[in-house]
């Protein structure tokens, strides 16, 4: 991308609200330079829009006015230089580092009037966004329980130790647990913020964000210095979903920001997953709803997440099943006979055949087979269960 385009995007990043669909759509259709130069020349977008074919300006009404409010104060070169000195880079579409997953945001219908491909991303940290090979977003409630925290930590750790990238929002609760798990495993992790990447929000997580900035990447659509506002969180969620191949919601009440992230993942046709909790817990209600009525896939471990998100056929898991007991291999009629064999005192073939409801001759054959399999043994004149069969039954009863 040309320098002019980059500078125009820097300026627009300062002028427009992150995720403002009207502006971002114009930028994508007209180009950043056109939009920015139009703004500078006319002090608004109306003149720019006048010369355009029908359809381009749909929904853009009012955007010009919004932009013009902040226009005077922006010096893009200076801002870029300041950021560079603070160790912050600005990645724009077309750069080698641009995470192409975000391009899927183009032309998606807006959610809460937020959407579209961002003009660029402010990034702090050694992790290159294009090298985020297989990323999974782990999100959930801020007011999480210790259960959710430990599950998110384990997920982060499992994914991290497998070299997968954990994307989240550095918020309290699930987010921080997922980041910390990934960091503990030495894995790459990306924190997407609603404020500038030079700010620590929440303040309590400044140490965590420093650590992510040292080992992974801290990313934001908002320029350095920007404050975290409510609306910016909604815009931020689409980037978390867009950067990852799949989104896991660990704990979420029915109205939770993490369900908004899951909604974006759904729109972008990424894998949406949910970790269940107790049905009595209000904090798992949102997740259960996601699994029950929407596209949510139930997952319980990092391995299951990798199976769901990985290339098809990779990371396949063995289906958990109970080991087969000695009875499971037997034909049904032999099982019937075995059921009729007493535990302690031996019974005759006649008694057993009566109990099993099977003819004496067939029962005799079956008893022979069962004895050869070591399931029954001779006791006096009759047959009884062998110790091994009896113990196996007891163990099965337990399961």
């Amino acid at each position: 991308m040309s320098d002019a385009d980059r500078l125009a995007r820097v300026a627009l990043s300062h002028l427009a609200e992150p995720g403002d669909v009207r502006v971002l759509r114009l930028v994508r259709q007209l180009g950043a330079t056109t939009v920015y130069e139009g703004l500078c020349a006319h002090g608004g977008l109306d003149a720019v829009l006048d010369g355009m074919p029908d359809g381009v300006s749909d929904g853009a009404g009012g955007a010009g006015v919004d932009l013009a409010v902040r226009l005077g104060a922006v010096r893009p070169e200076q801002r870029l230089e300041q950021a560079r000195r603070a160790g912050i880079r600005f990645v724009v579409p077309g750069d080698a580092e641009w995470p192409t997953g975000l391009d899927d945001l183009a032309d998606q219908p807006a959610l809460h009037q937020r959407g579209e491909v961002p003009v660029g991303l402010w990034v702090r940290g050694p992790l290159r966004l294009d090298e985020v090979r297989t990323a999974v977003a782990v999100v959930g409630a801020r007011r999480a329980t210790t259960y959710g925290g430990s599950v998110a930590g384990d997920l982060g750790q499992d994914l991290g130790s497998e070299g997968w990238t954990v994307v989240s929002g550095a918020a309290f609760g699930i987010d921080q647990a997922a980041h910390r798990g990934a960091l503990a495993a030495g894995g790459p992790t990306v924190a997407v913020l609603a404020c500038g990447v030079d700010r620590a929000y929440p303040v309590r997580h400044s140490e965590l964000l420093d650590q992510i900035g040292d080992q992974g990447a801290v990313v934001s659509e908002a320029p350095p210095g920007a404050t975290p506002t409510r609306v910016r969180f909604l815009g931020r969620n689409r980037l978390i979903a867009g950067l990852a191949r799949g989104t896991v919601v660990v704990e979420a009440a029915v109205r939770s920001g993490s369900l908004n992230t899951a909604g974006w993942a759904e729109r972008l046709s990424r894998v949406v997953m949910g970790v269940p909790g107790p049905v009595t817990s209000a904090l798992s209600q949102g997740v259960h709803e996601l699994i029950r009525t929407r596209a949510g896939l139930l997952v319980t471990s990092g391995a299951e997440v990798r199976e769901a998100v990985g290339e098809s056929g990779e990371h396949l898991l063995a289906v958990p099943r109970a080991p087969l007991g000695p009875r499971d291999h037997l034909p049904i009629r032999h099982q019937q006979v075995l059921d009729a064999v007493p535990v302690s005192r031996g019974a005759t073939v006649e008694t057993i055949s009566r109990g099993a409801g099977i003819g004496t001759k067939e029962a005799g054959t079956a008893l022979g087979a069962l004895a050869r399999a070591g399931l029954i043994e001779q006791s006096g004149a009759g047959w009884r269960l062998s110790d091994a069969a009896w113990r196996a039954d007891r163990a099965e009863e337990r399961a």
């Binding site: 329980t145 798990g181 650590q211 958990p320 080991p323 009863e397």
Partner: protein, 539 residues
């Protein structure tokens, strides 16, 4: 002077009775009798005292009838520590005023066993005896020299540590004290010295990484004196957590330290030198232990058990469903009342038992995790599992305040190390608030306050009460559980430095009691920063 009285102490458990030892030396058939329900060891005092007196250069009244009365006469008395009081009384009664100086014995308690050469030997329980003497207003006590330091722990008591009978008599008469060979310390004390206590000072909660839930539970238990049940597969860190709980308890208050030291003195487990035990104790008996060793008892003198030796500290019962049924059953009452009473015939002994009881259990006898992909499968017999479950969920579990399931540790989360020192400061602050609230009531911690008093004087607000009532009505909480939730809610408020429990505290208390997950954020805040109010002030 034909009659003299000295004083000694009879111990029944931790309760001491002041005993008058009266000796009458008068004409009659020449004999020596002891009356007043002595046991066999005490009856032998006659022979010990006689030889001790003779070998100390004094005269035993060989030409007269000597009657020794231990009064109150209907109280059974046992032990050899009455020797000194008996010998001094005999000497005092047989003094010939025309030839010898009298032996003044008023306002004094005598403790010690005599050897045949007149030496004064150590005996168990000197500290509780001295405490009992002090409570009865006695101001002087004579004890064997090795135990002088132990007796001196009682404030306001003039302690005379003596090596022999001759020294005692000289001191009483105000004469120069003769020299005597030193007396060896009680052999039992080195045998049973507090092994492992030093090691506990070196372990730290920081070793437990990434278990905020368990750390929080331990902190609450320590702050309010609540009992704790930890479940989880083997290797989940149950023992690691339990043996670190004493480390987050503050040093014992002077009166607590005296109580504990007295209990240790009774069990003969006091380290030589008789220093006051200042750190909370930790006892972890094996599951083979008998009811006697855990609760107290024994043949002859009743000794305190592990439960009392963990007074003001932590008693850890690992694998508690494997303990004998009678032990588990017998623990029910002490867990409620905070003391153990051992009744036997006409004698009953009561020991304090206000330790935090930490129970640990595997999910099943073999201890393999029962869930999780690829996890080792439990291979237990169904009948065994049912018996195990019954104990695990039995009446003892209902008397536990906090139930936590521990997960085997994974790598742990970065940047969340919590040290024992930090937790101890939280616990100390919370305990200080409780002591202020309960000043003058005799209770120290929330767990000690009786149900009725709690409801009357420190009730929950209307919404909180309704929350608890709903849980009871829905069968999610027993009545006993409701009281425990109430007490714990106060502890949570104390930890957060709030003036009283909020609905959130009650909710957290319910979760702790029911083994449900806790809200992560408040847990981490408290563990990492301390009470919210002070943190806000700091900011």
């Amino acid at each position: 002077m034909a009659v003299a009285t000295t004083r000694a102490i009879a111990l029944h458990g931790a309760v001491g009775h002041l005993i008058d030892v009266q000796v009458d030396v008068s004409p009659g058939m020449v004999t020596t009798i002891i009356v007043g329900r002595p046991d066999a060891a005490l009856s032998e005092a006659r022979d010990r005292c006689r030889m001790a007196i003779a070998n100390s250069g004094f005269r035993w009244p060989t030409t007269r009838r000597t009657t020794i009365l231990l009064s109150p006469a209907d109280l059974p008395k046992r032990g050899t520590h009455f020797d000194l009081a008996v010998a001094v009384a005999v000497l005092a009664a047989s003094v010939d005023p025309s030839e010898e100086a009298p032996i003044p014995t008023d306002d004094t308690v005598f403790i010690g066993e005599l050897s045949l050469d007149g030496g004064l030997r150590p005996t168990a329980g000197v500290l509780p005896m001295t405490m009992a003497a002090a409570q009865r207003g006695v101001r002087r006590v004579f004890v064997p020299e090795p135990q002088a330091a132990e007796a001196a722990l009682v404030p306001g008591m003039a302690v005379f540590g003596m090596r022999s009978l001759a020294q005692v008599v000289a001191e009483l008469r105000g004469e120069p004290v003769p020299d005597a060979p030193p007396v060896p310390a009680d052999s039992a004390s080195t045998l049973l010295s507090w092994r492992g206590q030093d090691r506990l000072d070196e372990v730290d909660m920081a070793d437990l990484v990434g278990a905020p839930d368990a750390l929080y539970a331990a902190t609450v238990a320590a702050a309010g004196g609540h009992h704790l049940l930890l479940t989880g597969a083997k290797g989940a860190g149950k023992t690691t957590l339990a043996e670190r709980i004493p480390g987050i308890l503050p040093d014992l208050a002077p009166d607590e330290a005296l109580e504990l030291t007295a209990v240790l003195s009774l069990s003969g487990a006091l380290p030589p030198g008789g220093r006051l035990v200042r750190r909370p104790p930790y006892a972890a008996p094996h599951h083979n232990a008998s009811a006697t060793s855990i609760l107290g008892g024994g043949s002859g003198r009743v000794r305190p058990g592990e439960l009392s030796r963990a007074h003001h500290g932590v008693l850890f019962l690992d694998e508690f469903p494997l303990f004998a049924s009678d032990v588990v059953e017998a623990l029910r009452q002490p867990l409620e009342s905070g003391d153990v009473t051992i009744a036997r015939g006409e004698e009953s002994a009561t020991f304090p038992a206000r330790g935090i009881v930490v129970l640990a259990a595997n999910p099943c006898p073999c201890g393999a995790p029962s869930t999780g992909l690829g996890a080792a499968r439990c291979s237990c017999d169904a009948v065994k599992v049912r018996a195990y479950d019954a104990k695990l969920k039995g009446p003892l579990a209902d008397r536990v305040d906090i139930v936590r399931e521990m997960q085997p540790p994974t790598v742990g989360l970065a940047g969340s190390v919590v040290t024992s020192a930090h937790l101890r400061s939280l616990v100390t602050a919370a305990r200080a608030r409780q002591q202020e609230r309960y000043a003058g009531t005799g209770w120290r911690l929330n767990a000690h306050v009786p149900t009725s008093v709690l409801r009357d004087r420190w009730p929950l607000d209307e919404t909180s009460r309704r929350t608890v009532e709903e849980a009871v009505a829905a069968g999610r909480l027993t009545r006993r559980g409701a009281t425990r939730v109430h007490r714990m809610a106060w502890t949570l408020a104390d930890l957060e430095a709030r003036s009283g429990p909020t609905v959130d505290d009650v909710d957290t208390a319910l979760r702790l009691r029911r083994g449900d997950p806790l809200a992560l954020l408040p847990v981490e805040r408290l563990l990492l920063d301390g009470p919210a109010t002070t943190a806000e002030v700091a900011r």
